[in-house]
Structures are given as structure tokens and as C-alpha cells.
Symmetry: C2
Subunit: 247 residues, 2 copies
DNA sequence: GAGTGGTCTAGACCACCTT
DNA sequence: AGGTGGTCTAGACCACTCA
């Protein structure tokens, strides 16, 4: 399994970083592939002779780097590669994940009709308290949950939307059943921590670093078609944008 | 003595998350502003009666969320707001930070001429071993270091570049002295951990979450003008992109 | 039921920042 | 010089997963 080569160790270097390096090396050299389980913390403890807290510090480090991830009370695993998301392309999740040779999945966790909060009312330019559809979904890549999203749609634009099966591309449903497609997209991304609901539903420990992506889609008339807040595992996504000066 | 039975929810909630909530509340309610120092760990320890490890777990959580940050062996501080970076706009760091009412700063840490590695040679489409300029800079907002960058430039395009003072906008130098400006930009972003050099130079603990931004600028002829790797503090940046269908 | 990670305690010593 | 966070130890019990 994991091999512990002797590295030129600086006496000044904390033990947990030395351990990190040893494990990282095993992963980077391809000795252990994505999905492989690491030895248990107590096993590493007895192999390396350090306290469990120190082991956990090293593992947390590798997790922050995206090299490994944990499955609650199951173990630590080598991370699969991230998918690339390009906000300038208009492909939905299902499509761009598939294009990258991975298997996308979608689960609808909940769908409600809610009264618009003042914030949402502002975004949709409707009166506060007006009804809005709220859809919560979990999306997976190769079976591993990678993001939780909360989509808000104005019922005035897509009546009876909640009657459709939402376990597939919402973009497709809006286009095929309602003739709606996005003309303008506003995307906001920022590093965050996954906490509370999002952490629980992704099966990660609260406080795991993540990426919050907020998308607002407008149609040609400037109406908000879809307002989407996505909470990504930080190790599952990378963003790529290619831009030329507009002629 | 009145005993309050633990509600199921409270019982399930770890102490460190409860402490997190108390501190977070103070920050969100604006009782403590950006830059304020929190009480020391040992002070929090005696106030709350929990072990120091538990206190540190709560603080690490808040750090991951970007609400607080640490200054090595000095203390924990409330984070200032993040700046917004828009890759579709062509403004340099100095400009967009200033536009957001903050004070940008740049320090040149090192400048070298290096032989192109095979990776860099590929990017610049030059022979491996050809000379390249490598510039390392640290950039600050309101005096706080927020990113480290490693810029690579082909000397063939900008001879004697290293003789200029690089403590300002490189974009400006390239335009004003060499008549070079970017025509196409390729931007890649992904969550990462700040380790080794980058962590040290930003003064953060190794393993702090960060954002790696890679920018490749091309001129009209398709030549690579600038290849830039930026390592950001995760709590200092957010990305905003606004896109319309190209007509 | 055995093993896993999750949480927590109560210490200790160190390097470094601050004054 | 005193206080701070950084690192580390050696335990403990729990909730949960997995076979």
C-alpha cells in the first residue's frame, strides 16, 4: 500500500508536514489511484509512531490540497480528478461532465413553492411574498456527490415546472417545455466552507473548504429565468475561461 | 439548580460548532469589525471552559469560512471583505482593487532569467532551455498580503524587462514600453491549499485553503505575452463573470 | 461486533511576536 | 520578558459504517 521512503528531513520541519509529503508522494507517483483507501489513522499511527492528532493534521492538510477526501467514519480516500467548468460555454452539468468522460448524476432532494424573500424579490423583480419555485438537488460524478444546488424559478415563466421529473437537465426542461433559454448569464464564484445543510448532504465534515457558485440566467427580455446557488466540494471543480477582446 | 435537558439537536451538535456560532454571530452582527483581534486562545479557553484543542477547532472552522484569519504567533483577526475579480474585464490588479475603494500594493520578491522547462517551453512555443524571465511578486490590499504570483515573460518579446521597476502594473509596462497588449486571455482557477513558499510568503500556515489562478495572455499574433500563476488567500477574492450570447 | 473516524481532555514544550 | 499561536503527546468515549 503506502510506502514510506526516507526524505531529506529538515529537523525544523513539523512531523505532520513530513508525513504529508510521504503520503503525497505516493499519490503523485501514481502508486495509489483515485478511490483507493488509505490505511486507517490508527494504522498510520503505529507505523509512524506519532500521536493520532498529528496524523490527523497531516490528513487534513492533504484534504485541503484536494489530494484526498474522507467518507464519514469509513476512511480516507484518494481524490478523483476535478471536472472543468467553463462559464462561457452554455452546456449544463450533465453535458460537460459527460464530455469529460465522467458519469454525471442528479437527485432531487426537495421541491417547494415558497414566498419570495425580499432578497429574492429583488432579483426576480417581483413583489415580496410572491410565489417562487425552489428546487434542491444533489449532483454526483461517478456516484460521488460533488455539489448541492438550490435553484429558484419564477412560476410565472414556467408554470407546473415542479410536475416534471427534475432528475435531469433543468436547462433542457425549460427549453423544451417552455421555450425558454438563457441569453445572459451572470456567474459569481467564491471560496467558502461547507457547513450545515450543504455539508450534511454532501456527506462532508462541516467546515470542509468548498466553492460557492451563484448563477443568474436572464432571457432576451432581461427577465431572470433561473437563479441558482451551487455549493461544490472544493476538490471537484476547476474553472476555465477563455476570452478574446470583443470585436 | 435548574437543569435544562439537552434537545436532540443540541446534543448532536459538537461544542466547537457551538463556539463557532457564538463568534460568527458577533462578527455578522457587526459587533467586531474587520481587523479586530479576537481574544487569545487561552482566554477563550478559560471563558468557555473547554480544552484548547476544541477552541482551535472552532477557530479553524471560522478561518475556513473566511470570517477570520490568523497572523502567525500574533493572534486571530476578523477578515476584511474580499475584492471582486472579473476575468472578462481587462483591468490589472492595481486598477480593480483601487476601483473597489481599497489600497493595492505590489512588492517584487525576485526576478530571474531561467531556462525554459519543458512545460514552459510548450506554453511559449520555444525550445526547452531558452531563456525566460521569471518575476515573483507579492500583492497586498490595505497592507495585507493577499497573493503571490510568478510571472513568466519571453525576453524575445520584452527585452530588458527586468531593468524596469516591477512594483507596479506589468500590463502598463508591457503596453507603454513594448507596445504589447493582450488580445486573448485564458484564465484557469481552482481551489488549492497554500503550502511551502506561497504559504510562507503570505504569512499563512501551510495548508490554509487558497485559490490558484493561472492566466495566459496572448497577443493578436497568438504569441504568449505573459504566463502568470497567482496564489490567492481564499478569503480575499471572489470571481464575477457576466456573459451574453455572442451575436 | 469490530473497526473507523469524530470529538474532547489536559497537559507539555517550542519559536516567534510584541512591548 | 511575557504572551501568542504552533506543534505534539497519550489517553478517552462516542456514533457510525461495514462485513
Amino acid at each position: 500500500m503506502i510506502d514510506f521512503p526516507d526524505l531529506p528531513d529538515d529537523a525544523a520541519r513539523p512531523q505532520y508536514l513530513a508525513l504529508r509529503d510521504r503520503i503525497a508522494l505516493n499519490i503523485e507517483m501514481g502508486r495509489v489511484g483515485p478511490g483507493t483507501r488509505l490505511p486507517s489513522e490508527r494504522q498510520l499511527q503505529s507505523e509512524s509512531g506519532t500521536a493520532r492528532g498529528t496524523i490527523r493534521e497531516a490528513l487534513a492538510q492533504l484534504e485541503a490540497e484536494g489530494l484526498i477526501y474522507r467518507r464519514d467514519r469509513s476512511g480516507w480516500y484518494v481524490s478523483p480528478p476535478a471536472v472543468t467548468y467553463d462559464p462561457t460555454r452554455w452546456a449544463g452539468f450533465m453535458r460537460y461532465v459527460r464530455e469529460q468522460g465522467r458519469v454525471p448524476g442528479t437527485e432531487t432532494l426537495a421541491k417547494h413553492t415558497i414566498p419570495a424573500s425580499s432578497g429574492l424579490a429583488d432579483i426576480f423583480r417581483i413583489a415580496p411574498g410572491s410565489p417562487l419555485f425552489l428546487i434542491e438537488r444533489r449532483r454526483t460524478i461517478d456516484g460521488r456527490p460533488v455539489l448541492i444546488e438550490r435553484i429558484t424559478v419564477d412560476p410565472a415563466i414556467a408554470p407546473d415546472l415542479l410536475d416534471h421529473s427534475l432528475d435531469c437537465s433543468l436547462t433542457d426542461i425549460l427549453r423544451d417545455h417552455y421555450g425558454i433559454s438563457a441569453f445572459r448569464n451572470r456567474v459569481d464564484m467564491r471560496p467558502c466552507a461547507l457547513i450545515k445543510d450543504a455539508a450534511e448532504r454532501l456527506g462532508v465534515k462541516s467546515g470542509t473548504p468548498g466553492l460557492k457558485v451563484t448563477r443568474t440566467s436572464f432571457d432576451e427580455a432581461g427577465r431572470v429565468v433561473e437563479y441558482d446557488r451551487e455549493y461544490w466540494r472544493h476538490d471537484a471543480i476547476r474553472i476555465h475561461v477563455d476570452l478574446s477582446i470583443r470585436i
